[in-house]
Amino acid sequence: MGTISLKNINKSFGSTEVLKQLSLDIQDGEFLTLVGPSGCGKSTLLKIIAGLEQQNSGDVIIDDKNVNSTRASKRDLAMVFQSYALYPHLTVRKNLETPLKLRDYSFVERLPLVGNFVPSRKEKKKSIDDLVFKTSETLKITELLDRKPGQLSGGQRQRAALGRAMVREPVAFLMDEPLSNLDAALRVHMRSELSELHNSLKTTFIYVTHDQAEALTMSTRMAVMIDGELLQLDTPSEVYNNPSSLRVAEFVGSPKINTFAAQISSDGSVEFMGIKLERKFNTNSQKALVAVRPEHLEITKDSNKPAFEATVSYRENLGSDIFYHVQVDQSDFKIIVRGSPQAGLISNGETVRISLSHAEAMLFETSGERIR
């Protein structure tokens, strides 16, 4: 089992409030990503779950047990750190053995020399050896067991750190940006490996990252945190397509979502940049913000379609996609439009007509709340 729930967690360092009344329910076996910009309190939250940091108020409940006053090691969680945090003076094998020895051996059995004479240690040692071997097989690090962390590459260290977490067979894994020290190609590769690992272990994963790509690709559900608050908790596709507030919409998605000032008429129809949305909205406000993702805008040559004119100022060619940064009305207002490479390249300085590809867009209050 591995259900974890957080109830009204508050945490502040001195006068800075890091977490504000945060509540979160994590189901057994899910891959939950805590995502947010740096400094939003997600790592602190993970440390509170782990027991490495004490919350000012609120409860942490693991498998229906309140663990507020339980020590980190007794919570039966395992953590993978950004810098891997392997013991630099021990071989990979010893690194993997350490948590097991500390958990299974009694005080006497752990003593150097004397411990060897305790008969029960032999059996325990055998089961530890088996576990270490099994884990190293799963992670394909068996041939690295006798090396020290200093002799390993980044990816290998990452695996060793995962191994040290896995050997304990914990109720949940906590991961604090475990992939951010790897190079781009390896990171993408490890993403799929972590997902596979999660599928085979079926254990709860709580994964902290500032990289929304990791959150979108791996998680069952993602929790978007900004400024110590949990803004939205939902499946990645729901968070991307149906964000609850403008802050979430702006944080998730790359390139960033475009926002336009819009006018709302008394009948609820919305107009921005000369384009009228098909749907009518039920709201009392007259002014609002329309947000459109770059892939929902298109460069059109069809003069019948409602569109607005803009000048291409910068072109990002990613191969599969091209993103045009365009400038509207000679002002500083810039938006990003996705173009397909098949349509041919448009050079900087050209004027283009931009329209909505689905005549559909999200509407937000000027304060940031979603208007549905």
Partner: protein, 297 residues
């Protein structure tokens, strides 16, 4: 252009060579004098090793040895007579006991202290640390008298304890290790806590092995200072020659009828210095290749 470059470089090297000579010449003289005869030392002749003529040494016969025993080559005489005149192995042993005990106890105290100062959050931590810094400013000589009185009242004068106890808390060690521990990532400590280690286990099983390069640096400071210390042993060892440390032992060669015989004196100094030199040639290698933090990032 090139010539000027070389002139600039040679100027620097010249200065460094002069500096090195200032340090090395006394060593050269010490080794040279420990090998030569008294006449050669006094007439400043004979180069590094002297003529090494077999001769009879008058100071030796004055000490009651037969002429036959006192006839040998100067280098042999100097070292033989140094060991005859003073129990040098005993002094070396005392030096070893004192410096090693001091260092071990210093580490035993400094590591938990500096771990707490660097990695644990508690009220007054900054104040405690500023007190540590303040203690760095107190010269030994200022507190020597009260220390002596304390030890004397406790009846510890003329014991090993008197040589060791005042040095067991090294504020310099606490400061040095604290600075080193500040560079150890918190994640390593968090990982150890997740694995189930208590704070003391973290100090001895994680921080100690990680800190070996810094500890070696501290060992050099500590061992050199206390091996060479003359001031404190001179104060607390008042009569018992069995407790003399090497610097006190060397003093045996001064004063008395043969006070101006430099050969055996220099031979004893060479004997006292060699262990340090050997220790540091060995330690230096470990120092460079020691377990570094490369495994971390």
């Amino acid at each position: 252009m090139l010539a000027r470059h070389y002139i600039g470089e040679s100027w620097k090297h010249g200065l460094l060579i002069i500096g090195a000579l200032i340090v090395l010449i006394p060593f050269y003289m010490m080794v040279s004098m420990s090998l030569k005869s008294q006449q050669e030392i006094q007439s400043i002749s004979g180069g590094l090793v002297g003529a090494q003529e077999i001769q009879t040494f008058p100071v030796c016969t004055k000490h009651g040895y037969t002429e036959e025993v006192c006839t040998m080559r100067p280098y042999k005489y100097n070292f033989w007579f140094a060991f005859k005149k003073a129990p040098i192995p005993r002094y070396l042993m005392n030096g070893l006991i004192v410096t090693v005990s001091i260092f071990l106890i210093q580490v035993l105290i400094a590591l938990p202290c500096s771990y707490a100062l660097a990695k644990l959050r508690f009220k007054g931590r900054e104040f405690v640390f500023s007190m540590v810094l303040f203690c760095l400013l107190i010269p030994v000589h200022a507190i020597a008298l009260p220390l002596y009185v304390m030890l004397a009242k406790a009846g510890l004068v003329d014991t090993y304890a008197a040589l060791i106890i005042p040095w067991t808390i090294s504020v310099f060690g606490i400061f040095l290790m604290r600075q080193f521990f500040m560079t150890v990532p918190d994640e390593l400590i968090d990982a150890a806590r997740m694995d189930g280690m208590g704070e003391y286990s973290i100090v001895w099983k994680v921080m100690l092995p990680v800190a070996i390069p810094a500890l070696l640096a501290f060992a050099i400071f500590s061992v050199v200072a206390h091996w060479n210390d003359y001031f404190w042993p001179r104060i607390v060892i008042t009569g018992n020659r069995d407790l003399f440390t090497p610097p006190l032992g060397i003093r045996e060669f001064r004063g008395g009828i043969d006070s101006d015989e430099f050969g055996p004196m220099m031979a004893s100094i060479v004997t006292v210095t060699i262990p340090l030199i050997v220790a540091f040639i060995v330690a230096q290698k470990r120092f460079v290749e020691g377990i570094t933090m490369t495994g971390m990032k």
